[in-house]
Amino acid sequence: MPLRIGHLDVLRLSILTLVAVGGQLLAAGTVFAQSPPASDAVVDTAQLALGQRIYREGLGEAGQSLKAVGAAQTSLSAKDAACASCHRRSGYGASEGKFVIRPITGPALRQEQTAEVQSVRGKARLGVALRPPYDEALLARAVRTGVDSSGKPLNAVMPRYALGDAEMKALSAYLFALSAKPSPGVDEQEIHFATVIQPGVAPERKRAMLDVMQAFVRDKGANVRSDEQRREAATMRMYRSYRKWVLHVWELTGPSESWDAQLQTFYAQQPVFALIGGLGQASWQPIHEFSERLEIPSVFPQVELPVLTGINHYNFYFSRGVVLEAEVLARFLRELGDTGRIVQVYRREGAGSAAAAAFRAALTSGATVEDQVLEGPASEAFWQRVYAGNPGALLLWLGAADLAGALAPSGAAPAVYLSSNLLSGRIPYALVKPGANARLVYPSDPPPKREARLLRNKLWLHNKGIPITDEVIQMNTQFTMTVVSDVVGHIMDSFSRDLFVERIEHVVGQTPMSSVYQSVSLGPGQRFAAKGSSIVQVLDADNKQLRPLSGWIVP
């Protein structure tokens, strides 16, 4: 199906168009939007789709797994043979140990590298290999036989592929267009971001996130104002690509079924390069799917219900939320040994029931688990029922509003476990009466370590004149903004959303600004930054202390 593409307007229109190719849904607009071909070029979408499938999935013309011979003469297939597994979706390559995986974007392939590059700036642009530009024939030779465009053998980690002619043609077409143009949401002056807020988020929580974001964006704006001129001074010469940051706030309304259409409308008004932050208590699924479909990165929304299964190339989350908490708790209780009967309390709707289901699935020991579903307001009679028969452990998958009266029963005091996620990260000291045995699944490090770690964040807030109103949201938002800023600095003028995603995988573990999470790390394809949690004892309102009951548990 040839498609003639001329102008940017056409590109933008096509972004929302889904074209079914060969039984597979290909977000055609996204392919072109991220790597539009030269003006007036005739694009064969079926060919590009095949090229993309070879590149991303390692699947050939008939859907068969590609066959390749890799380093140490190993035969590789499918995912391991997919170009993207080393060169990544963006085509900008990567490095592992001493192995450098060279960029194979359209511009990189076409570029002639004529001189040994010594300057750091030059290297950043060109790399250091010397070789003539690739054309289709040279590319085919490289892919099939491992000889580069100058006739030298490629490194052994580059596999040799047995591709048919149609497959090779499709791969060429895909590669010569790969990351050839900036992704949408960036122009010569500005880079656009949006933050998505679900309905029902309390105004003070919104304010807490937006104040931090807007202060950060203001700083960015102030800094880039005269950088183009500064570049002329030798002392200020840095290879950077300055763009003014523009932040859009996309507030969703109404039922979740209508969110996708709302997101599309926002996006049609102003395409954004990435979604950053975000808030919501309901399932993040509609936003997640929007972001996957349009290939828009989404970085660390603070949500109770992240999307845990299915395809995820573009959505980064802080953690797996209540499901992680449930698994951590199951592991903790299992290692604790015989706890006796376990009772868990939750509301049917929302994150609580997801937590309860995950706990039941994760608790592989023979312990008895009994569910109590809370409906309507929690009465004294309800709590008497829950505490009846003196359970060995009580899991309250509930928010603060439901906990009044729950933690100070008369008589028996079993260990009561609470969820940080469902308490929005607030420690419920006020609810814990003397004598209660309240414990919390806690993602941060125990004080005073936590205080020391977050000092830098707090100083920044202080300097910006922002009072601390919601520590968790504010710290996590600072972390997110710092990560995004680091990454935008790293990608320089290579405004590829895929490269942005790949750099996030790299910088998260080394970012100097902290989040409330004790430990964060990512790697290729990893989408949840904090992989564990710990269990702490919550002392009562008079003591206001946490005591660690476990180390960092990765379930």
Binding site: A72, E96, R160, A162, G164, Q510, P524, W552
Partner: protein, 207 residues
């Protein structure tokens, strides 16, 4: 002792298949009616050295979540082959585990006593469940154990085996093998293909 070994090109190795001893994989790959033979212009190279290491006393977890005291696991008279990998690694690890997967069949009867160990260097992500799925996907047999552990223990372990490079993304291909617990380690830095690894193994573990 530090010997630099460079393997022959694949074309040469393939020529040796007729001789029987070196079984390079078939590389004539045919589909859609076409056949392409893939020559191998690149060189595999690796460095072999003999080392002694003090194994830290750490308790790791296997793919079933069972605790494994590494010193006990390695206090064996069986030969051991060990590497460091992580499951989301896209470049080096797929090659290393492929080579490991190929070794037992090439060793034949000699592989019966061999214990293979792959230790994750990304313990935060590589939970026992993750390792179990990965082991299955690479066709790991009974005698190939995948281990993970606490972040600090895994770091200590890499330091002890001189393989810590600061970040999982900086890691380098490495294989360690040993005849028995009383012997020093044979350290293979770089990519050795399955035949080369088997050759090194037979040198280290004479029948």
């Amino acid at each position: 002792m530090n010997i630099r070994v460079q393997s022959l090109g694949l074309a040469l190795a393939a020529a040796c298949v007729a001789g029987g001893a070196l079984g390079a994989p078939a590389v004539a790959l045919a589909h859609d009616g076409q056949s392409h033979t893939i020559p191998w212009p690149g060189k595999n190279d690796y460095q072999r050295s003999i080392r002694s290491y003090v194994i830290p006393d750490v308790v790791l977890a296997d793919a079933d979540g069972r605790p494994v005291r590494l010193r006990e696991l390695l206090a064996t008279d069986d030969p051991v082959m060990m590497n460091f990998v992580f499951t989301t690694c896209g470049t080096i690890c797929p090659v290393m585990v492929k080579v490991f997967a190929d070794v037992p069949s090439r060793l034949g009867a000699q592989s019966k006593s061999l214990r293979m160990i792959s230790i994750s260097i990304d313990p935060d992500n590589d939970t026992p469940a993750q390792l179990k799925a990965y082991a299955k996907s690479v066709g790991a047999g009974e005698r190939w154990k995948f281990l993970t552990g606490r972040v600090q223990d895994i770091k200590a372990l890499q330091l002890a085996f001189d393989s810590y490079r600061g970040d999982k993304m900086n890691h380098e291909p490495l294989t360690l093998m040993r005849h028995a617990s009383a012997r020093p380690w044979v350290r293979i830095d770089g990519f050795a293909n399955p035949d080369e690894l088997v050759r090194e193994y037979r040198k280290a573990v004479p029948q």
